[in-house]
């Protein structure tokens, strides 16, 4: 069951990404769709076999800093009319720096459920949490959110 995924992350790349994330915050707020983190896109491609597109239709709302890695709140909203011809099939949440990367997959049904969900997850260390949505036409949309946890929630 356990998947080992060569991530190519080092402390340096993560720290660089963290610094880039904080300094890039103001510009990210202006630019609606920031380019996807290259490592994240590679990871999604490894897991699904398809390349994701960064999208501002996905909203992954998480605290930037959270003291406890055991119960980190997460809210996911996708802009979609949820009609038969235009809907979200499912959304997966991934935590690339956790010992087990997959967190959860939420399946929605057009005209029956809204693409909006809240839950609580475990994070082992500060990282970008990813949300990857598969739309009804098979395209993958992706967004990510930087979360800094103070304690390891995976022990």
């Amino acid at each position: 069951m356990e998947k080992t995924i060569p991530l190519g992350f080092t402390r340096r790349t993560v720290l660089t990404a963290a610094v880039a994330g904080t300094t890039g915050f103001a510009s990210a707020a202006l630019a609606p769709s920031p380019p996807p983190n290259g490592d994240a896109a590679d990871l999604v491609k490894q897991l699904t076999g398809k390349a994701p597109t960064a999208s501002d239709r996905l909203h992954l709302v998480m605290p930037q800093v959270f003291p406890n890695g055991y119960t980190v709140p997460l809210t996911l909203v996708i802009d979609s009319p949820m009609t038969e011809s235009d809907h979200v099939r499912h959304v997966s949440v991934l935590a690339p720096r956790n010992p087990l990367v997959e967190v959860a997959t939420f399946h929605f049904v057009p005209q029956r459920s809204e693409p909006r969900v809240s839950t609580r997850i475990r994070l082992a260390e500060p990282q970008y949490v990813l949300a990857v949505a598969e739309m009804n036409d098979g395209t993958l949309l992706m967004t990510e959110s930087w979360v800094e946890v103070a304690t390891n929630g995976c022990k």
């Binding site: 967190v103 929605f108 049904v109 005209q111 809204e114 969900v117 809240s118 475990r122």
Partner: protein, 108 residues
């Protein structure tokens, strides 16, 4: 032996076409399989691995849960009211355990 206790919070009535929230929680340790006991033996994985919500027998929302879901998994989601009937909430556990709650929804 620990017995998971499922809970849901969902309105009893809704207008036709209205979107309403559903809050669900099941008390469960969500043992990841990554931990060891004081003798160094691995504690086997035991988590809720699937949650399904059905409305009159039709699946309207479901979740695949993995190890990184927090203990006592809480899931809040939103359904669109289409017809009166029975809402069924099912939690499936490693090892085959199934926990079910039912709720009657009246759509006016």
């Amino acid at each position: 032996m620990f017995t998971p206790a499922p809970r849901v919070q969902v309105p009893s009535t809704a207008a036709n076409g209205e979107v309403f929230p559903v809050k669900t929680l099941i008390s469960h340790p969500m043992e990841t399989g990554l931990r060891h006991d004081d003798r160094g033996n691995a504690i086997p994985r035991k988590i809720i691995n699937k949650f399904i919500c059905r409305h009159n027998g039709v699946v309207v929302f479901s979740v695949d849960l993995h190890e990184a879901m927090a203990a006592n998994p809480f899931i809040e989601f939103y359904l669109r009211a289409t017809e009166s009937g029975r809402l069924e909430f099912v939690w499936e556990e490693d090892g085959g355990g199934v926990h079910v709650l039912e709720h009657q929804l009246t759509v006016a």
